[in-house]
Amino acid sequence: MDSVGEDCNELKQQYDACFNSWFSERFLKGQTDDSACVPIFRVYQECVKRAIRDKKINLREIDPIFETNSDEDNANSSDGQQQQKGKS
C-alpha cells in the first residue's frame, strides 16, 4: 500500500513490516513495549509529515492521546464528532 508521499513508500514498507511482526509476535502476546520499531517510525514520520504539509492536507485536531499521556480518549465516546465539526 502506498504512502501519500511517493518518496515515503520504501520507508513505509519497511515500517509496516516491522509493525506487523511486532503486533503479531509481541503486542498480541502481551508485550506492550513498542520501542522495537521506533527508529524506522521516526524516519518514516518525518517523510509523511512533510508530504502532508506539501499536499496541504488538514488533519484537523490531533487526538489528545498523542499530545499528553492522559487516557481520556474513549473509543465509545460520542463527543468526538462535535469537536470535529466545531473545528471545520
Binding site: N20, L28, D33, D34, N58, L59, F66
Partner: protein, 215 residues
C-alpha cells in the same frame, strides 16, 4: 442524517482478524483505497492507539458532480484502539474532504464472538450527513448505499488478507527477530545515504561559495 449498521461474523479468531485488519490494504476487492499512512501511534496503558490517514477514490454519478464536485482523491482520518486484554479493536473514520457539505463517520468494532472464541464479530456503523446542498436526502441515500456496497467488499478484502496471512504462517521463512534486525539495518543504510548526500550538498555549497569569492 442517515445511519447505517451491519454485523458480520468471521470464522477466524480475533488475533488473526486484527492482524489482517492492519494489512487490509491493498486487496483486490477494494481498489478504491489507494494509500494509508500512520500519522501517530503509541501504546498507552497497554492499549495501542493509532491515527492513520487513508487515501481513497470515490466515484459518484454524474448528476451529483455539480453538487459535490467530481471524484477526486479523498482523505479520511482513521483513529483506532487495540486492547489486547479486552480483545477489542475499534476503528473510527471520518472524511476530511468532500468539502464542508458532507460528513461521513464510520465505526468498526472487532470483538471475539460471544458464543465462539474461534470466531470474530464485526459491528459496523456509519453516519452520513449532507447539509447545505439541494437534494440532501438523495445524496444521503446515495452515500449510504455506496458505504453498504463498500462494506461488503471490505469484508471480502479482509478475508482475502486472512488467507494470505494463513499461507504465510504455514511457510514462514523469516522470524520476527530477523525482520526487526533487518529493519534496523536498513535504517542505518538510510541514515548513511542521507549523510552522504548532506556531505555532497555541503561540498557543493563550499565550492559555490568559493566560486563566488573568486568572481
Amino acid at each position: 442524517m442517515k445511519i447505517w449498521t451491519s454485523e458480520h461474523i468471521f470464522n477466524h479468531p480475533w488475533e488473526t482478524v486484527t492482524q489482517a485488519a492492519w494489512r487490509k490494504y491493498p486487496n483486490p476487492m477494494t481498489p478504491s483505497i489507494i494509500g494509508t499512512d500512520v500519522v501517530e501511534r503509541r501504546v498507552v496503558d497497554g492499549v495501542l492507539h493509532t491515527h492513520r490517514l487513508v487515501q481513497s477514490k470515490w466515484y459518484f454519478p454524474k448528476w451529483t458532480h455539480a453538487l459535490i464536485g467530481t471524484a477526486k482523491t479523498c482523505f479520511a482520518s482513521e483513529r483506532s484502539t487495540v486492547d489486547p486484554e479486552r480483545k477489542q479493536m475499534v476503528l473510527k473514520t471520518n472524511n476530511l474532504t468532500f468539502c464542508r457539505n458532507i460528513s461521513v463517520d464510520e465505526v468498526l468494532y472487532y470483538e471475539p464472538h460471544p458464543a465462539d472464541a474461534n470466531k470474530t464479530l464485526l459491528k459496523q456503523e456509519a453516519t452520513v450527513t449532507v447539509f447545505g446542498v439541494p437534494l440532501s436526502h438523495y445524496m444521503e441515500d446515495l452515500l449510504t448505499s455506496i458505504i453498504s456496497t463498500n462494506a461488503g467488499k471490505g469484508r471480502q478484502g479482509l478475508e482475502w488478507v486472512i488467507g494470505l496471512i494463513n499461507t504465510e504462517v504455514k511457510g514462514i521463512a523469516r522470524g520476527t527477530d530477523e525482520i526487526l534486525h533487518s529493519t534496523r539495518r536498513s535504517i542505518d543504510e538510510v541514515t548513511e545515504s542521507a549523510r552522504k548526500s548532506m556531505d555532497e550538498i555541503s561540498a557543493q555549497a563550499a565550492k559555490a561559495a568559493k566560486a563566488m569569492h573568486i568572481t
